[in-house]
């Protein structure tokens, strides 16, 4: 029976699950739109995974990343729960040892990761505004009546340049509307938008940082050829979009969990594939222990508390074993 390692990336727009083998080869990949019920989607995802991999594989480690990593980490009994910046860097340095710069644009955030000699050394993440991320593009595609998959290709057909204000999503939208009313075509407007987004990315994330090739562009938005072209124009250099650009975070966390399990030699804490039959739900209460009045979030599996979080002092999260008595004391 050969070992597989599972990586799960719970993003704001998509939920991705991958399985890799002993040589980090990709055995399974799934990209699912996040419709807001991550636990159900992960359950469905694992059912598909089970069907595809069959019974001959042993799950030797599970890692979770992405903005929703905490909850799913508890649900799965994950071996590692890690931020998506580290996960993306791990996947990219595996496929492209020569990488110098990673552009990652996802559903609600964009990141820049600087790599030197195969080691991630610096990063930046968008702070105040979500302009230029996947959900904004989704919204604009719907408004223009174009499928998001076609969106980028259309930009390449533009014959003229039109400048769209990209600083803020609201202003970008009103600028697009006014340019439409002037009679610019859809491809021209989309191209203008792509360039505005890249300009915005350069101003907010790159700032003064020195960028070195190879340039790798990943995340859900990397499927957009218009943005890729705009990056290439801005950098005057080739930009590479990896084959599995949309699930790089999941691949990265799978690689990290594989390394971790091999290094420590411990067994996985994964709940087992039967978790798809369990009922999970969360509730919360306010701790009255001190003036902070933290909102404690409690995750339950079939009525049994499996995790607590949200406390600043560690009174609840640090002591799952004592949950029952402290709850009584609390009452």
């Amino acid at each position: 029976m050969s070992r597989v390692y599972i990586g799960v990336d719970i993003g704001s727009v998509s939920i991705n699950i991958v399985a890799i083998g002993e040589d980090c080869e990709l055995l399974f990949r799934l990209y699912k739109r996040n419709t807001g019920q991550p636990v159900e989607l992960v359950k469905e995802g694992f059912k598909e995974l089970q069907k595809e991999l069959g019974a001959k594989k042993e799950i030797a480690g599970v890692g979770v990343t992405g903005s929703g990593r905490q909850l799913i980490g508890y649900v799965l009994g994950a071996d590692i729960v890690k931020n998506e910046i580290t996960a993306h860097a791990a996947a990219t340095t595996f496929y492209y040892p020569e990488v110098g710069t990673i552009f990652e644009i996802g559903g609600q955030d964009s990141k820049l990761i600087i790599i030197k000699n195969g080691i991630p050394v610096d990063f930046a993440m968008n702070t105040v505004c979500a302009a230029g991320t996947g959900s904004f593009l989704d919204h604009q595609a719907i408004r223009l009546g174009i499928r998001i998959e076609e969106f980028g290709k259309l930009a390449l057909q533009a014959k003229r340049d039109v400048r769209i204000a990209g600083r803020c999503t609201v202003f970008a939208e009103s600028d697009m509307i006014s340019k439409q009313q002037y009679g610019f075509t859809k491809p021209e407007i989309i191209k203008g938008l792509c360039r505005a987004l890249v300009r915005n990315y350069m101003n907010n994330l790159v700032r003064g940082k020195q960028l070195e090739p190879q340039y790798i562009f990943q995340g859900g938005v990397a499927a957009n050829e218009g943005i890729k072209a705009a990056f290439e124009e801005e950098l005057n250099h080739e930009v590479i979009v990896p084959e599995h650009h949309d699930v790089m975070g999941a691949i990265g966390i799978a690689i990290l969990v594989k390394e971790e399990m091999e290094r420590t030699g411990r067994g996985t804490s994964f709940r087992g594939l039967d978790f798809t039959r369990d009922d999970f739900y969360t509730d919360s209460f306010n701790c009255a222990g001190c003036a902070n009045e933290c909102e404690i979030i409690r995750v339950k599996a079939n009525e049994e508390v499996i995790a607590m979080t949200g406390d600043r002092c560690g009174k609840w999260s640090g002591s799952i074993l004592n949950v029952r008595d402290s709850e009584e004391k609390h009452a």
Binding site: S67, K82, N83, I85, T86, I119, A291, E293, C313, G318
Partner: protein, 368 residues
């Protein structure tokens, strides 16, 4: 008279000072979500974050019958210097009958300062005042020593929750002291308690030490900066701040004690920021260089959203990071800050430092 003050860092120290002078102290509670909401509601939108939180704290403590607030003004071109006056105006406009003493550095107006001190002194003899100041100063130094120890060993503690509980008990013990001798006793007891945890520091090259610099309020107040030191500790990194209450006191009240340190930092900041641009901006830059000189692995720079001086020091970070070959992460903090977002950045920041350390070790062994 029922007296209160803004909440920042080890409030027991200010509380103690006023209490030992015979005032009836209304201790402010650590700011909560509710405090912040209340403060934001009654503050100008573009005031910086500390103004809003302190506003909330004032309004909450007012419900407990405060007659006098004591706060500090400021010097130099940072607008926090006006905040005491502005708080007073807003609160009095809201119809509260409360007085304010805004302590400005004495050399700006000796007469006013002297009058304010007389109010606070009350019926105490000058000898008593000197004794109280001595006790509180000692206590302040002592609390800071213990806190530095906590943020070092907590990175390796097996049971962090228990250690945090002990730390809270230690602070309670400090809040009950009356004389300088009590301070020494509580400190010894505290060291004994921490020793019981039997936490062993790893060898020097494996320790990860992170310095925290920036605007004083967000650097010093854990309930505002999202407990950043504890989060970093839980990720396996030790922390030390650029500012502790005793550094602040040395700097503002006993400038002759803090002068040497300040001069050193200003020298280290030279070439980056050569003018006093208000707040701690120039010192923040000096402290970043200082942390590097002391062998720290990274620095986190904190600023309240819309803080003017720290916005300027932030623009130096890229260059500093390259010159010093040290990662620096800047975080902006205000009522909109999402904890998950900060957590992601801190987690990645510590990871990258770990990778860098592992790599440089490898490089050394390759060259041998």
């Amino acid at each position: 008279m029922r007296v209160s003050f803004p909440y920042m860092g080890s409030t027991i120290v200010y509380g103690k000072l006023l209490e030992l002078l015979g005032h009836q102290v209304v201790m402010p509670e650590p700011p909560t979500r509710k405090t912040v909401d209340l403060g934001v509601k009654y503050s100008p939108e573009f005031a910086c974050f500390p103004f809003k939180v302190i506003m909330g704290t004032y309004l909450e403590t007012l419900e407990r019958g405060v007659e006098l607030f004591v706060t500090t003004g400021g010097q130099g071109p940072c607008r926090a210097g006006f905040y005491g006056e502005l708080h007073k105006k807003i609160i009095q406009n809201m119809g509260y009958d409360v007085d304010f003493i805004v302590l400005d550095p004495p050399w700006r107006d000796y007469e006013k300062f002297f009058r304010q001190i007389l109010t606070l002194k009350g019926d105490n003899s000058w000898f008593k005042v000197a004794e109280v100041i001595h006790t509180v100063y000692k206590m302040c130094k002592s609390v800071d020593i213990i806190e530095k120890l906590i943020t070092t060993v907590r990175a390796y503690a097996g049971d962090r929750a228990a250690l945090n509980r002990s730390w809270r008990d230690i602070l309670t013990a400090y809040s009950q002291i009356e004389t300088a001798r009590d301070v020494a006793r509580v400190e010894e007891e505290a060291l004994r308690v921490i020793e019981k945890y039997d936490i062993k520091l790893p060898p020097q090259e494996k320790r990860i030490r992170i310095g925290i610099v920036g605007e004083i309020y967000v650097v010093m107040e854990p309930s505002i900066n999202g407990n950043i030191e504890e989060i970093l500790n839980s990720l396996g990194a030790e922390t030390e701040r650029s500012l502790y209450l005793s550094t602040y006191i040395d700097e503002t009240i006993f400038p002759w004690i803090g002068r040497k340190e300040k001069k050193k930092l200003i020298k280290k900041a030279s070439g980056y920021i050569d003018l006093n641009i208000g707040g701690h901006a120039r010192l923040s830059v000096g402290q970043i260089v200082d942390f590097k000189d002391r062998g720290f692995d990274g620095v986190i720079h904190l600023k309240p959203f819309a803080c003017l001086p720290e916005l300027i020091s932030e623009s130096m970070l890229e260059k500093l990071s390259a010159d010093l070959d040290m990662p620096i992460l800047s975080l902006s903090i205000d009522e909109q800050t999402a904890e998950a977002n900060i957590m992601t950045r801190l987690d990645a920041f510590v990871d990258f430092i770990k990778y860098g350390k592992a790599y440089s070790k490898e490089r050394v062994s390759l060259s041998v």
